[in-house]
């Protein structure tokens, strides 16, 4: 087990290196320039933007820039943003609490929807309840989040005027009002992300339960005269969860990426919106920092999923 872990981590290193190299090259080859706004302003001499490019090392050859970045990264220095001249690590840490709050809440909501609905639908396949649940799930994951976001804004902000559609991190109220304001502004983004994810997972949970429900040991459990809820919870759900846990773990990094659109619509100052503005500004160090974190997440969660397999299913062993 321990050997396996160490081996996997060693394999991860070259993958990360490869990912960073590809990212950097693609970014360097992509069009755009962090100082184009300066360069296009007739009242600023062109030499100013040129000097800044030179100072920030943008005129160096790509391999040299990558090498500088890599060496600094190995020393734990993520570099600094061209746009704000602030350390990349500071920028990311600043955005982390909001990201965790909104994304965490939406994932919990997704699980709260997917597990009961999926299990119910799987235990009673093709019943009316299952038909309704499956149809809603199909609709839920077919509609893109930017659309549901706009629909929710239209209903709850414009028609009903119940919820704000601009997310603010600086709520000045105190006590209960403060908590309420924080919850209120997060309702729409969390609902958009959570319900989308929930719809995807519902279908998966249902399929997984459906696989288990027909197995002999479930029939045996029922034949033993066990109560229905014991059969469903202990015998069906627990065994059906093995692939679901893997799926949840693997979709975590994807969720970070998928939140970009939702964050943009509701102006949630999370890591996704940081990435978007960095891409628009051609702010290479920030893009590298954020995407590098994303790739680390992919590798780490893959590893976690593999380890969870073994824990959930003792028949799987690591060599």
């Amino acid at each position: 087990m321990f050997n396996y872990l160490v081996r996997r981590l060693f394999i991860a290193l070259p993958s990360l290196l490869g990912i960073s190299l590809i990212l950097f090259t693609v970014l360097a080859l992509a069009p755009g320039d962090p100082f184009s706004e300066l360069a296009n302003d007739p009242s600023i001499p062109p030499a100013v933007a040129a000097a800044l490019r030179h100072k920030f090392g943008l005129d160096d050859p790509i391999y040299l820039r990558y090498f500088h970045w890599l060496v600094a990264m190995l020393h734990g220095d993520w570099g600094y943003s061209f746009a704000s001249r602030v350390d990349v690590s500071t920028l990311i840490l600043q955005r982390l609490p909001t990201t965790l709050y909104v994304l965490g809440a939406s994932q919990i909501l997704a699980l709260c929807v997917a597990l009961p609905v999926g299990v119910y639908a799987g235990v009673r396949p093709y019943s009316l309840g299952d038909q309704i649940a499956s149809t809603l799930a199909l609709i839920g994951f077919s509609i893109p989040t930017f659309f549901t976001g706009l629909v929710l804004i239209l209903i709850f902000s414009i028609w009903l005027d119940w919820l704000p559609f601009v997310y603010r991190t600086d709520i000045s109220a105190t006590g209960f009002a403060w908590y309420w304001a924080y919850i209120k502004e997060a309702i729409m983004p969390v609902a958009v992300l959570g319900l989308f994810q929930g719809a995807v997972w519902t279908r998966f949970v249902r399929a997984s339960v459906l696989d288990v429900v027909r197995l002999d040991y479930v029939t045996t459990a029922r034949a033993k005269g066990l109560a229905e809820h014991t059969v469903v919870l202990k015998h069906i759900t627990r065994n059906a969860m093995i692939p679901v846990v893997t799926l949840v773990a693997l979709s975590m990094p994807i969720v970070f990426g998928g939140a970009v659109v939702t964050e943009q619509i509701f102006r949630v100052p999370g890591i996704g919106s940081l990435l978007i503005s960095a891409i628009l500004n051609n702010d290479t160090p920030v893009i590298m920092g954020v995407t590098f974190i994303f790739s680390c997440l992919v590798i780490v969660f893959n590893l976690i999923a593999d380890l969870l397999y073994g824990w959930l299913d003792p028949r799987i062993s690591y060599r």
């Binding site: 069009p31 009242s43 600023i44 100013v48 920030f56 602030v86 902000s157 619509i265 919106s273």
Partner: protein, 596 residues
């Protein structure tokens, strides 16, 4: 009304028996515009007007002012500002010596008065300007604001190691401390437009010496005050998250009486323009939204929400079509559009004249831009003193056809006109942007009717406007026959703006296409006019020179001006703001208030 009556009236204004406002209104009744009347008053010895009516009688008590920028400021050191969002963000806390009002006149902020040749504070040779600073101004941390701070800002910005974006304004001048409250700015040559250093939000905001002294040069990035500004402005720093949020609270020791009105200010960033407009106009979640470049039809619909209205401010930004003077389809010395070539037909007067007649500006205004664009024949439209009255535009397909016929351009078998084997086929490029593609269609349709074939090309804005030397699709390379975009005139003076037609500014491989002259038009007469304007100290004569230059490029159809684009902001009902197109949106933030 004759001159004597007018003088008598001005006398009344002087004596205080007639309010300035009433006078301006009466003159407006005679068809005179406000800037012109102000000019008239200025000639009679009046200072520039403070035409904003500030009503609150005490500072504070206004609650929170919520503003929305769909691109949030990423930094708060004005000397590092890359775009207007950064200038606006730092302008909450920092101030210049003087700002620009909507008519392009100087209004003192940290200066006691605006320098003036009559008072001897602008030298007769145009090489020195003396600024008298306001006394008793304190930084937010209680330190006094003095001439040393101004001198330091010059040293800070002009040091190349600091990597300031304001270096262009400060590197060639000299700033000298005369006494604690007087500075002298010296220019290497006569400078009629001297109001650059220490003026306006773009280059003028002043940072405190005592906090930045140790961070001049290579370590400029490490100054703690970069992220937590200490200025002289109406609001004091509370909180900053790059790209997301800036917050400030009322400065109780602000140097202007009874100001500011609001207790807290919040500047939220992110999202896009339409939803920013919605948050102010339709739902009223915010009080003010910046730069609403949204189609007027959508704005009108949002305004029906009843929470706010849009505010239009004159600027010098002009949406125009550029005519390539060189051949974009021939490669010489490794570059297309080389100045060693001449365009096969776009330098033919008949073709140019016809093209000018085929651009339907009125329709572009009516159907695309609405209130957010004004059809114009001029390249320089504002401030009004620089606007030419001798130009006009016309949309007339029949006339264009007649001119082409007379010029010897006859329709070929495919309906496309040709002469000596050269066909009138054009490639017209612009950036990807809804209104621009509609605009391209309008031009294309008219040209087709006149027998000019046109291929439309839309290039991603991040490519089109980049200064990437390797990319053939940038507007600077101009590898097509026509192109359209908006160019901005940030200062209320056309000098830097009109540089883009100078022969020595031609964009080409040799200068990595950094030159301003993208059309590659070269005309010694224009160059001479520009050189004269650069040294002309008489304001009226200088304005005449710029008008002449404008007329040259317009009449020679080097560019076809289409629409000048005023600034558009969203303002909540009851909020009183004073916005200038020549300065930061927050240039008069201290005067903003809400009706009680």
């Amino acid at each position: 009304m004759d001159a004597t009556q007018l003088r008598a009236m001005i006398g009344k204004v002087k004596a205080g028996r007639l309010s300035r406002r009433a006078f301006v209104q009466r003159m407006a009744g005679l068809g005179l515009t406000a800037p012109f009347v102000n000019l008239m008053l200025a000639q009679e010895g009046f200072a520039a007007p403070a035409s904003f009516d500030y009503k609150p009688t005490k500072a504070g008590g206004g609650g929170t002012l919520r503003t929305l920028w769909w691109e949030g400021p990423t930094l708060l050191n004005p000397h590092f500002a890359v775009g207007t969002k950064d200038q606006d963000g730092s302008r909450i806390f920092y101030e210049p010596l003087a700002g620009w009002d909507p008519d392009g006149n100087l209004v003192p902020v940290l200066a006691a008065e605006v320098p003036d040749a009559k008072k001897g504070t602008v030298s007769a040779d145009g090489k020195a300007v003396t600024w008298k600073l306001k006394r008793g101004v304190k930084w937010h941390d209680g330190q006094p604001f003095t001439a040393d701070d101004c001198v330091f800002n010059w040293q800070y910005a002009s040091d190349p190691a600091t990597a300031a974006t304001s270096i262009g304004t400060y590197k060639d001048i000299k700033v000298e401390k005369v006494d604690d409250y007087t500075i002298k700015v010296e220019f290497p040559k006569p400078t009629p437009f001297w109001a650059t250093a220490f003026v306006g939000a773009q280059f003028g905001q002043i940072i405190p010496k005592h906090l930045f002294e140790k961070y001049k040069g290579g370590n400029s990035r490490e100054a703690p005050a970069n992220l937590a500004p200490v200025g002289t402005g109406p609001y004091m720093f509370v909180d900053f998250k790059p790209g997301d949020l800036v917050r400030g609270k009322r400065n109780p020791n602000y140097h202007m009486p009874n100001r500011p009105y609001f207790d807290l200010i919040e500047m939220k960033g992110g999202g896009e323009a339409v939803s920013a407009a919605r948050a102010v106009l339709q739902t009223g979640e915010y009080d003010f939204a910046w730069n609403l470049q949204v189609e007027d039809e959508i704005l009108k619909r949002l305004e029906q929400g009843g929470h706010g209205q849009i505010l239009i401010t004159p600027t010098g930004n002009i949406e125009h079509i550029e005519i390539n003077q060189t051949d974009p389809w021939q490669t010489v010395d490794g570059q297309r559009s080389s100045i060693k070539t001449t365009h096969p037909f776009l330098t033919d007067p008949a073709v140019k004249e016809a093209l000018n007649l085929l651009v339907d500006r009125a329709s572009v205004q009516q159907f695309i831009y609405g209130r957010t664009g004004v059809a114009t024949a001029n390249f320089v439209n504002n401030p009004e003193r620089f606007r030419s009255r001798d130009t006009h535009y016309e949309f007339n397909i029949q006339k264009a056809i007649a001119i082409l016929d007379r010029g010897g351009w006859k329709p070929g078998s495919d309906g496309i006109r040709e002469k000596n084997g050269v066909k009138l086929k054009l490639v017209f490029q612009t950036s990807v942007n809804g209104p621009r593609q509609k605009n391209q269609e309008i031009v294309k349709e008219a040209c087709q009717k006149a027998g000019i074939a046109m291929e439309l090309k839309a290039i991603l804005a991040s490519v089109f406007f980049s200064s990437d030397v390797g990319n053939p699709d940038t507007y600077r390379k101009f590898y097509s026959d026509l192109q359209m975009f908006t160019t901005v005139m940030g200062q209320p003076d056309p000098q830097e703006f009109m540089r883009q037609f100078l022969s020595n500014e031609v964009a080409q491989k040799e200068n990595k296409w950094q030159g301003r002259n993208v059309t590659r038009w070269r005309n010694p007469e224009y160059d001479a006019l520009f050189a004269a304007a650069e040294n002309e100290l008489d304001a009226v004569k200088r304005a005449t020179l710029f008008i002449k230059m404008n007329d040259m490029v317009v009449n020679d159809v080097v560019v076809i001006p289409e629409i000048y684009r005023p600034g558009v902001s969203g303002v909540a009902n009851g909020l009183n703001v004073w916005i200038s197109g020549w300065d930061s949106n927050f240039w008069a933030l201290q005067d903003w208030y809400r009706n009680a």
